[in-house]
Symmetry: none
Subunit: 411 residues, 2 copies
């Protein structure tokens, strides 16, 4: 009887047929005997994460596949990044994601990543603990140019525009309230003051003086975006009764696992890049089954290679995953394995698209599964799968059904 | 890369298996090598326009396939017919469709179409501009016995019953308000007065005196139905950023295209009947691609033949469309082609049914499409299609996905 599950998400797995690959997708092109065996022995389908025509961002996609209704539980990227860096959000806190950039005297953005700065911990230390109008700013360094910012105080709102103009304007800008509440107006004003104050502090930092002396761009400005409050979503365990953990290399996915209340498992060699140690992650996943009921494993590079338009690299990376998947095939009895992506990332478009993603569910000895006739894991083979076409929000209910944990309606 | 689209709707295309056709449907029975090629080179599926069990009317079906939520945007037939005749609706106007009929002194309806009258423009002219209780009536002739009526004035409501009793009663009747608002009460009273006044005017019209002298039934009574206000729906271009045009022979479909803000393209020979020049319509569609991003083409007779129970005629007409479809196969690169119906019209039932309709999407050289294994266009072959089972409201999101115009949710 199935009683535990592994959810393996290969980021941006889905793709469109590529003329240079003989009109196959990278997944269809890859020689992937283990994934094909999982498909052959399992039940397959296509997952439209948010429904036709909606292109899922990675954060929204993961929350949806975890079973959280994003209308209630998605609060922007800020809180997810903050918890991913190990910060605790209290009720009323507003979190933003930040990145250190370079501006000139005119506040024109010269480089959004401050000349490729690799460590902002020294610079960020000078901003941490700033108090403005009774609001305390907690600032922590992320990877490379990134940082997380938490605002703690009375009367804060997340209803402000991004003070980061992204690529729409060459100039840094101030946030605006997006509703008529005094809280939104107050928060926008405090963030504006923080931006100005932090710019002053960063501009005169000895670290930046030293960078300029070495011919590097100064990291003299904090771009902020994704303001959100923690939505106090129920943890994965509260929601499903499953003790859950997460294994990921890239920061966002650690954040998403933490956000859903999963225990984060650190795996040496899990880089979130093409060189990641997939075997180590899968081996760790099996070990986690001794303690946890549900193991989320995230592999990032399928997506990054698609954003680069590198379809051959994507196919080769899928082959690397496939070789490691032998470890998952040899997992203990009673453990359901789900393999899918969080969205399609088209190598020709070099971006996410709304096309559905292949999904397979596999059980040792076909335990409880209505095994279908699909014999390979791929976009086209999965069109014929027994799961049919499902939504992202359907994945966990399907898992719960197979784990015999679904709720009876009526009598 | 796909960047434009043609949507070809063959009205009432879907059907049920017919014993006399060896349990094939007319589409399955027809020898249609071009439609089959489109299916073989494309991706197919079945479309349930409104979901299982709902029988779509043509107006509701088209609005749904165009992507308009009918709960918000369907306001009855009146406004659609009015804009189809080139009338402009102002805010607050109520539009009704009318048809000139014959009643006796007792107001018993003798003929709903006034003895097959072919031109009501002279009769309608005497009603146009009537003012009743401050409400002005704008009346325009449609095809044959049909007319459009717009009420313009203060305090009007569309919440009235059809004053046309259809076939439920042999007698003409007055409208009733369907809510308790003073506007509905007032509108019902004004419409009642218009019906009485127009009956007086029509009864003494010299045109009717002449008809009677020639042994024809007088067109002495205006049957009204489908009261609605213009819903100010966003135009197709506002909604999708696609400059759109429509090609149709029959009035309702011209109205629907206009209602959705498409530019109407007049094609000589497009009659909306079995004799329509399908080749001319398809040729015009290709020419429209020079100016427009989205071309809606409507062909009517598949439906009319089904209402007549003429399954052999329907199959033969599909073969006529198929021969012309060669033109569409030779369209420029980058143009998605969608072929479907607006609903099933069963030749045995001689009416619309809720059965889903075959749909195919085709791209030159398979561009961006996850081409499936379907090799023929038909109700049964499409059951195996890669699009699976979709709703009418999903069609435009699927199109927008393939045109790379979908919206990202999250980051």
């Amino acid at each position: 009887m199935l009683h535990k599950a592994i959810l393996l998400i290969l980021d941006g797995l889905g793709d469109r047929p590529i003329p240079e690959l003989g009109h196959l997708t990278p997944l269809e092109k890859a020689t992937a005997p283990n994934l094909d065996r999982l498909a052959r022995e399992g039940i397959c389908g296509l997952m439209s994460v948010l429904g036709p025509g909606f292109v899922p961002g990675s954060d929204v996609a993961h929350l949806t596949i975890f079973g959280y209704d994003i209308h209630n539980y998605y609060a922007g990227r800020g809180p997810i990044e903050a918890v991913g860096l190990g910060l605790q959000l209290a009720g009323g806190d507003v979190a933003l994601r930040g990145n250190l950039s370079t501006v000139d005297d005119d506040l024109t953005i010269l480089d959004r990543r401050a000349g490729g700065i690799t460590d902002v911990s020294g610079l960020v230390r000078d901003l941490d603990g700033l108090e403005i109008d009774g609001v305390r700013f907690i600032v922590r360094p992320g990877t490379a140019h990134r940082a997380a910012v938490i605002m703690r105080g009375q009367g804060l709102s997340a209803a402000i525009t991004d003070p980061d103009s992204h690529f729409d304007s060459p100039k840094a800008c101030d946030p605006e309230p997006t509703d008529h509440s005094p809280e939104a107006k107050f928060t926008a004003e405090v963030v504006s003051k923080f931006i100005a104050r932090s710019h002053e502090i960063l501009a005169r930092s000895p670290i930046n003086t030293d960078r300029k002396a070495r011919g590097l761009l100064p990291a003299n400005f904090m771009l902020l975006r994704g303001a959100g409050k923690h939505n106090n979503l129920p943890s994965f365990e509260e929601k499903y009764g499953l003790k859950a953990c997460g294994i990921a290399g890239a920061g966002l996915y650690k954040g998403l696992a933490t956000y859903a209340g999963m225990t984060l498992i650190d795996v040496p060699g899990a880089t979130g890049l093409e060189d990641t140690d997939v075997r180590a992650k899968f081996t760790a996943a099996l070990r986690c089954l001794e303690t946890f009921d549900f193991v989320f494993v995230h592999v990032k590079a399928t997506d990054s290679l698609s954003h680069d338009g590198n379809y051959e690299g994507k196919a080769a990376f899928i082959e690397k995953i496939d070789a490691a998947a032998e470890i998952l095939l040899n997992r203990p009895d009673g453990v359901l394995l789900v393999v899918t992506g969080d969205h399609t990332t088209s190598c020709t478009r070099r971006n996410h698209t709304a096309d559905p993603v292949p999904i397979l569910m596999h059980a040792p000895h076909g335990d409880s599964l209505r095994v279908d006739q699909v014999t390979a894991f791929g976009e086209r083979p999965c069109q014929q799968g027994g799961l049919g076409k499902i939504l992202g929000i359907d994945v966990m209910p399907e898992v719960m059904t197979l784990l015999n944990r679904s709720r009876m309606i009526g009598t």
